[in-house]
C-alpha cells in the first residue's frame, strides 16, 4: 500500500525526467549510427579531394603521383578506422576540423553560410504556412465545393512546376524585363545603409522565397484541408454551431484545431530542413547558403565540410524529434509510459 502511494506521487515530474533521459540515451546511439553511415558513404564514394581538382571544363591534369602526395597531405592514406577515430576524437572536442579546399575551420565556413539559409528557409516556411493554412481551412470547410476544387488544381499545378524553370521565368520577367526586383545575390553592391539596406535585402529575398514557397503550398494546404473536412462533420463542430458560433468561428476554433495536431508533428520534422539549404534555388539566385556549400563540398570531396554539415543535420533532426516527443508527452501522459 505504502509503496503504491509513493509510486503514484512519484509519477508526475519523475516520470517525465525518466522519459527524457531514456529518449536522450536512445538519441546518442542513433546519432552515432548516422555519423558512421555518413562517414562511410563519404569516404567510400569513388573519387577523392585530389581527383576532384579542376573540372571537365578546366582540364588541368594532375598526375596520379601528385594526387597521391595530396592524399598523404590530407591524411587520406591512413586506414579508414584510424581516420574515423581521429575525426570522432576531434568532434568530441567540438572541433569539426579544417576544410580541405581552403584550409579554414569547418565551423567558420558553416557559420558564414548559416544566416543566409536560415533567413531564406525561415521566411519560406512562414509564408508557406501563412498561405497554405487559410486555403486549407477554406477548402476543408466545403469539401468538393468550387473553392476546394479550384484551389486543388492551382496548387497541384504549382506543385508540379519545376523550380529551376519557374525561377528562370520570374527572373526574366520581373528582373530583366520589368526591372522590379534584383536578379540574384543577398544585397546590392554597394549595399545601401540603414532602412534602405533592409529593404534592399528583403527585395533580394523576394524571388528565392517565392520559389521555395510555391511548391510546398499544396502539401500543407491539403493536409489542413483533410483535417478540417474530417472534423467538420463531427459532433463538436455541430455543437459549436448550435451554440451560435458563426461558421468561420466554428471552422477556425474547432475544426482547425483538429487539423493542427498532425501539422505540429510534421513541423517538428520540418524544422531541421531549415538548415539544409536548397541547392537549386541557392545556385540560381547565387545565394551564399548551406545548400551551395554542401553541394560544392560534395563535388570537391571536401570530406570535413560534408561530415560537419551531415553531423549538423543529424543533430538538428534528433533534437527536433526529441522536442516533438517531449511536447507530445507533456500534453499526453499516456505516451510517457509507453515511450
Amino acid at each position: 500500500m505504502v509503496g503504491q502511494t509513493q509510486r503514484v506521487r512519484r509519477s508526475g515530474e519523475e516520470e517525465l525526467t525518466r522519459f527524457l533521459l531514456r529518449r536522450i540515451a536512445l538519441a546518442v546511439p542513433t546519432l552515432f549510427g548516422i555519423v558512421v553511415v555518413v562517414f562511410l558513404l563519404v569516404h567510400l564514394a569513388p573519387g577523392s579531394p585530389a581527383s576532384a581538382l579542376g573540372s571537365a571544363e578546366s582540364g588541368r591534369r594532375v598526375s596520379a603521383a601528385a594526387r597521391a602526395e595530396l592524399r598523404h597531405l590530407y591524411g587520406l592514406d591512413r586506414p579508414l578506422p584510424e581516420r574515423f577515430v581521429r575525426w570522432l576524437g576531434r568532434v568530441a572536442r567540438f572541433d569539426l576540423g579544417e576544410s580541405f579546399v581552403d584550409r579554414r575551420p569547418v565551423s567558420e565556413r558553416i557559420r558564414e553560410a548559416l544566416p543566409a539559409t536560415l533567413a531564406l528557409n525561415g521566411l519560406a516556411l512562414f509564408f508557406t504556412l501563412a498561405i497554405a493554412i487559410p486555403i486549407g481551412v477554406a477548402a476543408g470547410g466545403r469539401p468538393e465545393g468550387p473553392f476546394d476544387r479550384g484551389s486543388a488544381v492551382v496548387l497541384f499545378a504549382l506543385y508540379s512546376t519545376p523550380v529551376f524553370w519557374a525561377a528562370l521565368l520570374v527572373q526574366t520577367l520581373l528582373c530583366v524585363k520589368l526591372g522590379w526586383l534584383p536578379l540574384y545575390g543577398v544585397s546590392s553592391d554597394p549595399a545601401p545603409a540603414g532602412f534602405a539596406g533592409l529593404a534592399d535585402r528583403l527585395a533580394h529575398l523576394a524571388l528565392p522565397v517565392t520559389c521555395l514557397t510555391y511548391g510546398s503550398l499544396a502539401f500543407f494546404a491539403r493536409l489542413v484541408r483533410s483535417g478540417v473536412a474530417e472534423a467538420r462533420a463531427q459532433d463538436f463542430v455541430t455543437a459549436a454551431l448550435a451554440r451560435g458560433l458563426s461558421r468561420r468561428q466554428a471552422l477556425w476554433r474547432h475544426a482547425f484545431r483538429n487539423a493542427l495536431l498532425p501539422l505540429v508533428t510534421l513541423l517538428g520534422l520540418l524544422l531541421p530542413g531549415l538548415l539544409s539549404g536548397s541547392v537549386i534555388v541557392e545556385r540560381i539566385f547565387a545565394w551564399p547558403g548551406l545548400g551551395r556549400l554542401y553541394f560544392d563540398s560534395i563535388l570537391s570531396r571536401d570530406y570535413p565540410v560534408v561530415l560537419g554539415l551531415s553531423l549538423l543535420g543529424g543533430v538538428a533532426t534528433l533534437a527536433a524529434t526529441l522536442a516533438a516527443d517531449v511536447a507530445a508527452a507533456l500534453v499526453d501522459p499516456r505516451l510517457r509510459e509507453s515511450g
Partner: protein, 564 residues
C-alpha cells in the same frame, strides 16, 4: 650563353602564321539567311579602337568561388582570374604565346641549359611600400617544393629543381638537374611576399584570403560565395588598367549570368552554344550586348586505352578516328565554329603543323581496317568479334558536360553501324578522374584545356609517363615518338624544336593514340559599353596585359529598352 628572346621572336612568328590560319577558318563560315550573321572568328584586337574611358567599375563573373588567393596554392580558373590583377608574375605570356618580362626585367640561361638567372625590375614594390626582392622569389619557389604544401599547378614544373638561391637583393638563380628547353615556362609564376608569411602557418595565414598586391589592382574585400572586390593599387607603376574598381561576382549558373548581363549587373560572362544561339534572336541582347568568339588552345578528344586488347592495335585506333564524322559534328554540334584537329595541339599552337591533314571520315575504309585486323562479326550478333571477344566497350563521359554527351552519342551511333558496340556512361567528375587515372577504362571523352603556351607533349604522351608517374592516360607508347619528345626537350633552338614537334604531329596523326576531335571556339558575351578587348590563343585573360586593356563607358544602369 643562350638567350631566350630568340625563342620569343620565333614563337611570335609562329603565332602570326596561326593568326592567318584563324582568319581563314573564320571566313569559311557562311551564315545561313535564317540566322543572324555569325561573329567573325579569329583574333580580336580593339586595343587601338576608340578612345578609352578612364574610371568606373568593371563587373566580371566568376563561375565558382576561388579556393584561395595564395598564388602558389591556386588550382583553378577563378583564382587565376582574380590573381591576374593583383599578383604579377616573373614572366608573362603575351597575346602571341611568347614569354615576356614581368616582375623579372630580364633572364639568362646557362650554356648547359640547366641554370636560369633572373633580374627583378628595380622599381617593383608591394602595396605596403616594400620592394619585391629575390628573397620573395626564393621563398615562393621553396614553398612550391615543400612537400607539405599542396601546389598541384606548380609542383610538376619545379619538380626537377636542384638549387634555388638569391644572388643579391634583386637577382636569383634556379638550377635544374636536367637540361630542358622548356624549363623557362615554369617561371610564369606569381610571387608571394615573404614577410607576410614569416611566423605564420603557410596554409592558414590570413594573407591567403587577402593577398598583398604587387600588381595594378589591390584586394579590397571578399564576401564568401558572393563577390570579390579590387581597386587600383596606387603604388603600381606599370601598365595601368582603365577601370577604378573590378568587382567579381560569383554566379554559378550560365543562364542566370546571361540574364545578369541583360540586366546590367555583369559586364561579361562566358556563354555556351545554346546561349549564343539564343542571343542571336534576342533583341534585348543585341541592344545592350555582343558576342565575342575566338579560338584558343583547348580541344576535345576521345581517349582510348592503348593497353586494352581492343585498342592496342593501331589499325583499330585509326578505324575509330575514321568512324567519327567530325565534319558533321562541326556543322551540327558547333554550328561551324570548331576546327577539326589531327594531333594533340590546337591549330593556333606553333607546334601544330597545318600540313598534317586529319584522317578522313570513311566508314568503309574503317570497316576494311577492322576486317583486316581480324575483327569480324563471326557469330552474326551484329557486333564484330575476334577470338571470342566482342568489340564492345564503355565510353566514359563526365556527367557535367552536355556538348560532350551529344558528341559521345553521335559517335556511339556511328560505331554501331560498323558493328562496334559503345555504351556511353556518364560519371561524376571526381569518380571519372579516378578511373581514368587508374587506367580502368577503355574509352573516355575528355577535354584538354591549355593553361599556358607550353606545347611540350612529354608529360602526356611519353611512355615513361604512364600513371601513376605522369599523365599519359592513354598509355600511348611509341619508341620513335619517345625519342623525338626527348630530343625536343633537349633542343634549345626553338625553330628546330618546332620542326621536331611537326614530325611528332605526323606520328600522332598516323598512330591515332586517341580520337582527336575538334578545337571549338570560345564564346563570351560582353556589355557593349566595354571596349578594348584583345583575345589570344590563351583566351581573354590567360596572357598579359589581358583584361587591363579593357575600358568601359559609364554603366547604363538601366538598359535602354527599359528606360523609355
Amino acid at each position: 650563353m643562350k638567350r631566350l628572346p630568340l625563342t620569343i621572336l620565333l614563337l611570335a612568328l609562329a603565332a602570326c602564321r596561326a593568326r592567318e590560319e584563324a582568319a581563314r577558318a573564320g571566313s569559311g563560315l557562311a551564315p545561313s539567311p535564317t540566322e543572324a550573321p555569325a561573329p567573325a572568328l579569329g583574333f580580336l584586337d580593339e586595343s587601338r579602337d576608340g578612345t578609352p574611358v578612364e574610371g568606373g567599375v568593371l563587373r566580371r563573373r566568376l563561375v565558382g568561388e576561388p579556393t584561395t588567393l595564395n598564388a602558389v596554392l591556386q588550382t583553378g580558373v577563378p583564382e587565376q582570374q582574380v590573381l591576374q590583377y593583383v599578383s604579377r608574375q616573373l614572366l608573362d605570356f603575351d597575346a602571341r604565346l611568347a614569354l615576356a618580362p614581368g616582375l623579372a626585367q630580364k633572364w639568362e640561361v646557362s650554356e648547359d641549359g640547366r641554370e636560369y638567372r633572373f633580374f627583378l625590375q628595380p622599381d617593383a614594390t608591394w602595396e605596403d611600400g616594400n620592394a619585391v626582392t629575390s628573397g620573395d622569389a626564393v621563398f615562393t619557389i621553396r614553398r612550391i617544393l615543400d612537400p607539405k604544401v599542396p601546389s598541384p599547378v606548380f609542383k610538376p614544373l619545379f619538380a626537377d629543381v636542384e638549387v634555388v638561391e638569391a644572388i643579391d637583393a634583386k637577382s636569383f638563380r634556379v638550377r635544374f638537374r636536367a637540361r630542358d628547353s622548356l624549363h623557362a615556362y615554369a617561371f610564369a609564376l606569381p610571387l608571394l611576399p615573404e614577410k607576410r608569411y614569416a611566423g605564420h602557418r603557410f596554409l592558414r595565414v590570413r594573407e591567403n584570403r587577402a593577398p598583398l598586391s604587387n600588381g595594378p589592382y589591390r584586394f579590397v574585400g571578399w564576401k564568401t560565395q558572393e563577390s570579390i572586390e579590387l581597386e587600383r593599387n596606387p603604388r603600381w607603376s606599370g601598365t595601368r588598367g582603365h577601370f577604378d574598381r573590378i568587382l567579381f561576382r560569383i554566379v554559378p549558373e550560365n543562364s542566370v549570368a546571361y540574364r545578369a548581363l541583360l540586366e546590367g549587373s555583369l559586364d561579361e560572362t562566358s556563354i555556351d552554344q545554346s546561349l549564343k544561339d539564343r542571343s542571336a534572336a534576342d533583341r534585348r541582347f543585341q541592344a545592350c550586348c555582343r558576342v565575342v568568339e575566338f579560338y584558343n588552345l583547348d580541344y576535345n578528344y576521345i581517349a582510348l586505352n592503348n593497353r586494352s586488347p581492343l585498342f592496342a592495335d593501331v589499325s583499330v585506333r585509326r578505324a575509330m578516328t575514321m568512324l567519327l564524322d567530325r565534319p558533321a559534328i562541326v556543322r551540327s554540334l558547333y554550328r561551324g565554329s570548331a576546327r577539326i584537329i589531327s594531333g594533340p595541339w590546337a591549330p593556333d599552337s606553333p607546334a601544330y603543323d597545318p600540313a598534317v591533314t586529319p584522317l578522313p571520315f570513311d566508314p568503309r575504309a574503317a570497316a576494311e581496317l577492322l576486317d583486316r585486323a581480324g575483327w569480324r562479326d563471326s557469330n552474326g550478333d551484329g557486333t564484330r568479334d575476334r577470338d571470342g571477344k566482342e568489340l564492345e566497350f564503355d565510353l566514359l563521359a563526365s556527367a557535367g558536360s552536355t556538348a560532350g554527351r551529344q558528341l559521345d552519342e553521335i559517335f556511339a551511333a556511328e560505331l554501331a553501324r560498323t558493328g562496334i558496340r559503345a555504351r556511353v556512361r556518364p560519371i561524376e567528375w571526381a569518380a571519372f578522374v579516378e578511373r581514368i587515372d587508374a587506367g580502368d577504362y577503355e574509352a573516355a571523352s575528355l577535354a584538354w584545356a591549355a593553361s599556358d603556351g607550353n606545347p611540350d607533349p612529354f608529360p602526356y604522351w611519353h611512355s615513361s609517363q604512364f600513371p601513376p608517374t605522369g599523365v599519359n592516360i592513354a598509355f600511348y607508347a611509341n619508341p620513335a615518338a619517345d625519342t623525338l619528345m626527348e630530343e625536343a626537350r633537349r633542343e634549345l633552338d626553338s625553330e628546330k624544336r618546332l620542326e621536331i614537334y611537326h614530325r611528332l604531329h605526323r606520328i600522332f596523326r598516323d598512330d591515332a593514340p586517341v580520337v582527336f576531335v575538334v578545337n571549338a571556339s570560345q564564346k563570351y558575351a560582353f556589355r557593349r559599353r566595354v571596349g578594348g578587348l584583345v583575345t589570344s590563343p590563351l583566351g581573354l585573360y590567360g596572357f598579359w596585359p589581358g583584361p587591363l586593356s579593357w575600358w568601359g563607358r559609364p554603366n547604363e544602369s538601366v538598359d535602354p529598352e527599359k528606360r523609355n
